[in-house]
C-alpha cells in the first residue's frame, strides 16, 4: 500500500481537478444538445449540458427537486393567467465566437425540432413541439411560447421547457461543413437539411475533440479530450460569462468495463469520485481509511413490478384490489431495504419518489397504507373465497367471493419475469417468492437480461400472444426515473406507452390530467394518495442511483437525485 506504484493515481485528488468514474460500460458518445433516439443516456447530457447551457435545468442538490436558475440560460418563466402563454427572458451568455445568446438561438432549436420532430429523441405525440403552437420573439432577449391548451406551469417548466436547448445559430445554421451560415432553419426543407447535417457531424465521434461546431459552446466548460473509448476531459471555459463559474480547473470522466474493475481501481486510489456495489459495503471502513467517504446517491425514481391486467389467465385476479392488497401486504420492504440493499434503497409506497421529500407526496403514501403483515394478507385472501391447499397454493373455492372472471379451482400461480445479472435483484425476487408462498401465492421466477424483460413486457391486448407475461421486474436500477415533476401520465395513464400492465382507472386518469394541466399543487397529492391505495403495481424499494465513494478532499455538496452533475460547483481542498 505504501509503495508508490501507478502513475497519476496519488492518494488524493490533484488541486482543481477531479476524476469521475463513469458507470460500467458507459462511454459518452453524443455531444450535440439535440439528441436522437438511442443517444439519450444521462452521462451524455451531463456532459453536453456543461458545454451548452440549457434553457432551464432542475436539480435536487438543495434537498428538494427544484428549478436551478443559476445553471440555466434564462430567468424564471412567466405564465399568462390562462396558462396558455409562457414568456422567457434570456440571460447574458456569450458563445465561444463572442456573440451573445439571443432568442434567435432558441428559435433555431425550435425550428429544427419542429420540422424534424419524428427524428428528434425527445419527441412524444402531444408533447413538445406539438403543444407549442407558436414561437414569438419579443426582442433579442425575450420570447414567448404559445401553447395549445392550458398546462400546469410546474409540469410544463419541469417536464417540457427543460428540453429546450438554445443552440448557436450563427455557427450551426448551415447545411455543410463549409457552407454559408443563413436562415436555413426557417423553411421546412432547410431545417431538415441543417438537422441532418448536424446529426451527421455528431455521429462522427472521433472528431469531437477537433470539430469547430462543438467548440462553439457557451457553458462553464470546454472539451479538452473526448476519445472514442469514452475518456472525456473537460476544462474550465475561460470565456464563460454566466454566473455559474467553475471552481474546478478540470474534470475527467473515466470509463470502466465493470463495477469490479472500477472497485479495484478505487481501492488503489485511481479515481476521486467513484462508486461501489452494495455487496462491497463491507469494505466501507477500509475505503474510508483510504481517504474516501461513502455516500448513497438517491434517485428521483420509483421501483415497482407491473401487473399485467390484460393477461388472459392472471388478469382477472390482478383486477381484484384485495389480491393486490394482499400481495402488497406480503412485501417486507423494510427487511429488504436493510438486509438485501443494505440500506442503499428507499422503501416506496406509491407513485411519487419517496426520498427526497417533495410537496407532491401524499400522507397516505408517506405512511404506507399496506404495511408488511402476512396474517392480514392471508386473511384478505381467505375472506374472499381462497383456500390454501395441501401444496401450499391457494385456490378459489368460492367464486362468488373471489370476483368476476375467477372460476372455482383457479390456483394462485403467477409467473414473474425478472431482470438477471444483479445479486440484489435475485435476492429480492427470492424473498418475494418466499413471502408470497406464505400466503398461498406460488410465484414462478424466470430470469432474462434486461432488454429481454423489456421486450417481453409490452402493453398489450388479452388476445395478443405477447400478453402472456404476468408480472415483470426491470428495476435493478430503479424502474422509472422521473423528470423534475413526477406526474404519472406516461406510466399510469390509460393507454400510455409505458403503462406496461395496461392499468386503467377513470379516477386515476382524471387525477393525472389535473396534475398536468392545472396549477393546483394538490392535484399531485391526490394522485399520490389514490395510486398508493389503488396499487396499479407492486410497490418495491427504490434502489439508490449509485453508492458513491468520494475522496474526502473533494466537496461535491448533495448529489442530484435527477442523476445529473454540477461539477462547476465542486471544490477540491
Amino acid at each position: 500500500a505504501g509503495c508508490s506504484s501507478e502513475s497519476g493515481t496519488g492518494p488524493s485528488a490533484q488541486p482543481g481537478s477531479v476524476t469521475f468514474a463513469l458507470p460500467p460500460n458507459a462511454t459518452p458518445n453524443w455531444i450535440m444538445p439535440l439528441g436522437i433516439p438511442g443517444y439519450l443516456a444521462s452521462y451524455n447530457s451531463s456532459i453536453y449540458k456543461l458545454l451548452f447551457v440549457p434553457l432551464y435545468t432542475y436539480n435536487g442538490t438543495s434537498g428538494t427537486v427544484a428549478l436551478d436558475l443559476k445553471a440555466g440560460a434564462a430567468q424564471q418563466p412567466q405564465y399568462s393567467p390562462d396558462g396558455k402563454t409562457v414568456t422567457v427572458t434570456l440571460k447574458d451568455l456569450t458563445w465561444a465566437d463572442g456573440s451573445k445568446l439571443t432568442t434567435r438561438d432558441v428559435e433555431f432549436w425550435y425550428n429544427l425540432v419542429r420540422f424534424n420532430k419524428t427524428k428528434w429523441g425527445g419527441y412524444s405525440k402531444g408533447r413538445l413541439p406539438d403543444n407549442i403552437t407558436e414561437f414569438k420573439a419579443v426582442d433579442d432577449k425575450t420570447f414567448q411560447f404559445v401553447l395549445d391548451k392550458p398546462y400546469s406551469p410546474d409540469w410544463f417548466t419541469a417536464n417540457q421547457l427543460i428540453n429546450v436547448r438554445p443552440m448557436p445559430q450563427k455557427a450551426w445554421d448551415k447545411v455543410s461543413a463549409d457552407g454559408p451560415i443563413g436562415d436555413h432553419d426557417r423553411t421546412e426543407a432547410g431545417a431538415q437539411q441543417v438537422f441532418d447535417f448536424l446529426v451527421a457531424q455528431a455521429k462522427d465521434l472521433p472528431t469531437y475533440q477537433s470539430n469547430p461546431l462543438w467548440k462553439a459552446g457557451n457553458g462553464p466548460y470546454s472539451v479538452q479530450e473526448f476519445t472514442t473509448g469514452g475518456q472525456v476531459t473537460l476544462v474550465k471555459n475561460p470565456k464563460y460569462t454566466g454566473e455559474d463559474v467553475s471552481s474546478l480547473e478540470k474534470i475527467s470522466f473515466k470509463p470502466f468495463t465493470s463495477a469490479d474493475a472500477e472497485f479495484n481501481v478505487l481501492q488503489t486510489g485511481g479515481v476521486d469520485y467513484g462508486y461501489i456495489a452494495s455487496a462491497n459495503l463491507n469494505s466501507r471502513s477500509s475505503l474510508e481509511s483510504k481517504g474516501y467517504q461513502v455516500q448513497p446517491w438517491k434517485g428521483w425514481a420509483i421501483t415497482y413490478i407491473p401487473y399485467n391486467f390484460n393477461n388472459p389467465q392472471a388478469g382477472a385476479i390482478f383486477k381484484q384490489l384485495y389480491v393486490r392488497q394482499a400481495i402488497q401486504h406480503a412485501v417486507d420492504q423494510d427487511s429488504i431495504v436493510k438486509n438485501i440493499w443494505r440500506d442503499m434503497a428507499v422503501a416506496g409506497y406509491g407513485p411519487v419518489p419517496q426520498d427526497p421529500s417533495s410537496p407532491y407526496i401524499s400522507d397516505t403514501q408517506k405512511n404506507n397504507p399496506y404495511p408488511f403483515d402476512i396474517a392480514k394478507s392471508k386473511q384478505l385472501l381467505e375472506s374472499h373465497g381462497w383456500t390454501i391447499g395441501g401444496d401450499g397454493v391457494a385456490t378459489c373455492t368460492n367464486p362468488a367471493l373471489c370476483g368476476p372472471g375467477i372460476a372455482s379451482g383457479t390456483p394462485l400461480r403467477l409467473t414473474l419475469l425478472a431482470e438477471s445479472g444483479s445479486k440484489e435483484t435475485d435476492n429480492m425476487m427470492a424473498e418475494l417468492k418466499s413471502s408470497l408462498s406464505k400466503i398461498g401465492v406460488a410465484l414462478e421466477l424466470k430470469q432474462a437480461p434486461l432488454n429481454t424483460v423489456l421486450g417481453n413486457s409490452k402493453a398489450c391486448q388479452p388476445a395478443q400472444p405477447e400478453c402472456s407475461w404476468q408480472l415483470s421486474f426491470f428495476g435493478t436500477q430503479g424502474s422509472w426515473y422521473f423528470e423534475a415533476y413526477p406526474s404519472g401520465e406516461r406510466i399510469f395513464g390509460t393507454g400510455a406507452t409505458s403503462n406496461l400492465g395496461s392499468y386503467t382507472d377513470p379516477k386515476a386518469d382524471e387525477l393525472i390530467a389535473a396534475s398536468t394541466s392545472t396549477a393546483d399543487h394538490d392535484s399531485m397529492k391526490s394522485y399520490s394518495d389514490f395510486l398508493a391505495k389503488d396499487l396499479p403495481v407492486i410497490w418495491l424499494p427504490n434502489p439508490v442511483y449509485q453508492i458513491s465513494a468520494i475522496k474526502k478532499n473533494v466537496n461535491i455538496g448533495n448529489q442530484d437525485p435527477l442523476a445529473a452533475m454540477q461539477p462547476q460547483r465542486w471544490t477540491v481542498s
Binding site: 506504484s5 438511442g38 443517444y39 472500477e262 479495484n264 432488454n451 406516461r490
Partner: protein, 309 residues
C-alpha cells in the same frame, strides 16, 4: 479456401437469423423503458428494421461484401472502427497469454511425459488440473487481490493506452491480465503436449534415434518436440473462439475494453450490428486461425504439405 468463405457465410446467416429470435427486437433494448412509441418507430425506420427479414439480410450482406460492417445502434461509431480499435487490444492480450502459456506448457508437458506415471507427473498433473478447474474469474480475482490490491506490486488495470505501442509501454500493467489469460489455457496446453509427447516417445523413430546414440535430451529436443508440436499447433487454431470467451472475463476484471467486452455489451443492449460484426470477425479469425495452423503445421510437418484448392 472456398470452404472457409462458405463457413463464414453460414455463420452470418445463423447469427443474423438467431438474433431476430430475441424477443422485443433491438429498439427496446437500445432505447430503454422510457422510450416512447414515436422514438421506437423513428429508430426502427432509421435502422431499416421495419423491412422484411430477408430484405434486411440482403442489405446486410450487400454492405458486408462492400467491406462495411454497419454502424452501431448506440455507440455512435462504425462497427469497423470499433473492431479496429478493440481487436488489437484483445490480440495483444490473448497473444501474450498464449505465448506465455506455450513457453511454460511446452517444457512442462515434455517433462511430465518423460516422468509419466510417476510422482512428479502426478504432482504436476494435479497442479495443472487445479488451474484448469478453477474458473478464470476466480484466478483473475485472486491475482488482483493478492498482487494488485494487497501488495500493490502490479497495477489493477490493464494498460489504458489506445495504441499497441502504448500497451506494450505499460508492460507492468500487463502482468496480471496476461497471467490470468495464461492460467486459463496453460493446463489445456500442457496436458495436450504431455499426451502428444507420450505418444511420440512410443514411435519407432525414437528408437532409431536412440540406436544412433543420441542422448535422451537430444531426442526430446530435436525429434519428439518437433513432432509433437504439429498436434499442438492444430489445436491452437481451434482454440481461438475459446480464448475469445475467456478474454471477456479478463477485460471485465482489468478494465480493458476489448472485443469480448464489446460483444458482451452489444448483447446486453441488442446492438445487433456490433454483435454481428464481432461474431463475424471472430469467426473469420477462427477460420484464418485454422488456416494459419494448417500452414504452420505444413511448415513443421512435411506430410501435410499438399496443394490446397
Amino acid at each position: 479456401m472456398l470452404q472457409a468463405v462458405v463457413v463464414v457465410w453460414v455463420v452470418t446467416i445463423v447469427v443474423f437469423f438467431l438474433l431476430q429470435q430475441i424477443p422485443g427486437g433491438p429498439a427496446k433494448g437500445i432505447l430503454g423503458v422510457q422510450a416512447t412509441e414515436e422514438q421506437v418507430r423513428a429508430f426502427e425506420q432509421a435502422q431499416g428494421l421495419d423491412q422484411p427479414l430477408p430484405v434486411q439480410y440482403f442489405h446486410y450482406l450487400a454492405r458486408l461484401l462492400g467491406g462495411d460492417l454497419g454502424e452501431s445502434y448506440q455507440l455512435n461509431q462504425r462497427v469497423g472502427d470499433l473492431v479496429a480499435a478493440r481487436l488489437p487490444k484483445t490480440l495483444v492480450l490473448t497473444g501474450l497469454s498464449t505465448l506465455v502459456a506455450l513457453v511454460v506448457a511446452v517444457p512442462l508437458g515434455v517433462w511430465q511425459a518423460v516422468k509419466r506415471n510417476r510422482p512428479t507427473d502426478y504432482a504436476l498433473s494435479a497442479v495443472t488440473l487445479l488451474l484448469y478447474s478453477t474458473p478464470v474469474f476466480l484466478v483473475g480475482f485472486v491475482l488482483l487481490i493478492v498482487f494488485g490490491i494487497g501488495t500493490g506490486w502490479f497495477p489493477v488495470q490493464a494498460p489504458q493506452a489506445d495504441t499497441v505501442a502504448g500497451i506494450f509501454a505499460d508492460s507492468k500493467a500487463l502482468v496480471l491480465p496476461v497471467l490470468t489469460g495464461t492460467a486459463a489455457v496453460l493446463a489445456v496446453f500442457s496436458r495436450y503436449l504431455r499426451s502428444s509427447v507420450v505418444d511420440n516417445l512410443d514411435e519407432d523413430y525414437v528408437r532409431t534415434a536412440r540406436a544412433k546414440g543420441a542422448s535422451e535430451r537430444r531426442i526430446l529436443a530435436r525429434h519428439v518436440l518437433k513432432n509433437s508440436l504439429t498436434s499442438v499447433v492444430a489445436m491452437l487454431g481451434y482454440y481461438l473462439p475459446v480464448m475469445f470467451g475467456g478474454a471477456l472475463v479478463t477485460e471485465k476484471l482489468f478494465n480493458y475494453p476489448g472485443m469480448g467486452l464489446l460483444f458482451w455489451n452489444a448483447a446486453q443492449t441488442s446492438d445487433f450490428p456490433v454483435l454481428l460484426g464481432v461474431v463475424l470477425i471472430v469467426s473469420v479469425a477462427t477460420v484464418v486461425g485454422s488456416l494459419l495452423a494448417d500452414v504452420t503445421q505444413a511448415l513443421i510437418d512435411p506430410r501435410t504439405r499438399r496443394v490446397k484448392t
